[in-house]
Subunit: 335 residues, 2 copies
């Protein structure tokens, strides 16, 4: 069934695409199988991650990028990860996009995905969704994540090129976020560049970026110097320069040794993140199966047991819960 | 050695306390053993989590709370989790605290902990640090986390009472953060309450809090209705009301059935988070031991292998890497 749906989606069937995305969002073994299947079909799309703190104007910039890409004749899918609650979620971006030039355009596709509280499941669901959008044949897939926590950084690691979008006037503590954010940025974008404080932000970023250069990493080694660009997404100013930079980065990834190394590094991070999520899922399943957590929780709450001791008992009871292969029986522990 | 250090710390030896915190921050088996040891000594302190988005004024509020608690005769430790890079980190809060009335006060203790990029290790290190501060005999331990990502929410779950601090004027998207934040809040604090927009923020929070009530949960069932309080930390306005609310919440936790249920629920979340971290640590160790990640990363980067397939091979190669007990030999897999 999955294979038939993938065939249909690859042929342009948008209902098949939507059904596959629903499977991907549910996560679990079905989503994993789907990703493996999707990967075997080869990949030509370029995945662009767009992340940064709330208020930076990421949604508007994402829409502006999509419009410009369409103007150049490329097809575009947008996956917007929305941390809002299911009750209120998704409407905002959807509304903005609908207002834009993409509405009714067969070469563009927009999907919102609400972030759920589930432990670590979001990045896996996003990864599966991205794999499907790639199979569907879009030239570019833009994934926008709201916020700049670890979950968002994990999702950004799925992208080939990551834009980190900042804006002046987001509060003093924005400085504190830079360290973690700089690590995932291929391009730093100062949006709302017409506002007061943009010059100061650019100066700060330039300084921070100079500190973040990898040891021995400089342009003469073929390293990618993270550019700091200015945009005003509401008017479209700076967007075409941003797309030129995207093309340059794509060439760098595909043709240089340093670019290949970056691709390997990011793939490693993705594998590790996905492995952790899978183990967490098995652990949760084992806990639900054995019903052991309630007793341990009560003991820890009453200080009769320390959390590390509770973890030890939990993992013992779960046996080889972490067995990733479907051929390994859950519960058939080594002990 | 650990036991002797804990004895000394419990007796008021601040150098022993600092050495224990260094062990806790390093994480790993030594930190776990330390926590188990600390728990056996019994717990009387009340742990207060203070979290919320950057710019809300958490550091100032934390200092104001500590000063007020000291005025009431209680001893206080502050653990500030700082996401800044090691190069620039920690200075800000330290400076603010030094300026405050706590400097040179033997009944107060301040420790900053820099957030490292390490996968999931921060919450475990914070939990170990908190356990030690409790052993050291402080009446109140305040843990301040900057940011509102999953890591910070995990740390907040360690607390008995969690204050989520917001402020007007932090950007439009602040709305989007509420859902995840509301889940961990025992008290919502609108700081900088003298600023424009505070009334609107309070109205929004009141509405959001009314949606977030658990199914069937209302005050007549003994549930805790999350209060929304106003403070101006820079002047101290509202801080004593906040402390009264803290006392009420502490009584609720200790004397009602709903309070006991909340303590069990949070303990369960802590155990699960800690178990995930431990498994991730074992997984990372196994990868480093087998050296398998490099080959898998290259295959995934070149699209020769899908990430879920890479994860399967990784977990197979790691065997029962996740064995939590020190008695289980790493690598002695079930297969």
């Amino acid at each position: 069934m999955i294979a038939a749906l993938l065939d249909a989606a690859a042929g342009g069937d948008r209902r098949a695409l939507a059904r596959l995305l629903t499977i991907a969002e549910a996560g679990g073994d079905a989503a994993d199988a789907l990703v493996a299947d999707a990967y075997r079909r080869g990949i030509t799309a370029h995945l662009v991650g767009i992340t940064g703190p709330p208020g930076a104007g990421k949604s508007t910039l994402t829409a502006a990028l999509a419009v410009e890409l369409r103007r150049n004749g490329a097809t575009v899918a947008i996956l917007a990860i929305d941390p809002s609650s299911p009750e209120t979620g998704g409407a905002l971006l959807g509304d903005r996009i609908r207002m834009s030039a993409l509405h009714g355009d067969a070469g563009a596709f927009v999907r919102s995905m609400a972030a759920r509280g589930a432990l670590g499941g979001l990045a896996a669901a996003a990864a599966a969704s991205l794999a499907i959008l790639v199979v569907a044949g879009f030239d570019f897939v833009l994934v926008e994540t709201v916020g700049a926590g670890q979950g968002e950084i994990d999702i950004a690691a799925e992208a080939d090129t990551t834009f980190v979008v900042l804006a002046p006037g987001l509060g003093d503590d924005i400085q504190a976020l830079k360290a973690g954010i700089l690590e995932v940025a291929d391009v730093l974008v100062v949006n709302k560049a017409d506002r007061d404080g943009a010059d100061r932000l650019i100066a700060d970023l330039t300084f921070a970026a100079s500190l973040a250069l990898p040891p021995g990493g400089n342009p003469s080694d073929g390293a990618w110097p993270v550019p700091i660009l200015q945009t005003t997404a509401t008017t479209g100013a700076g967007v075409s320069v941003l797309l030129d930079t995207l093309s340059r980065h794509r060439r760098w990834l595909g043709t240089t040794r340093a670019g290949a190394e970056q691709r390997h590094r990011r793939a490693g991070r993705r594998i590790l993140a996905l492995a952790t999520q899978r183990v967490t899922r098995r652990l949760t399943e084992a806990m639900e199966r054995t019903g052991i957590l309630a007793g341990l929780s009560e003991a820890v709450a009453n200080r009769a047991l320390s959390p590390p001791e509770a973890v030890e008992r939990l993992l013992e009871a779960a046996g080889d819960y972490a067995g990733a292969s479907p051929h390994t029986a859950l519960g058939a522990g080594a002990k």
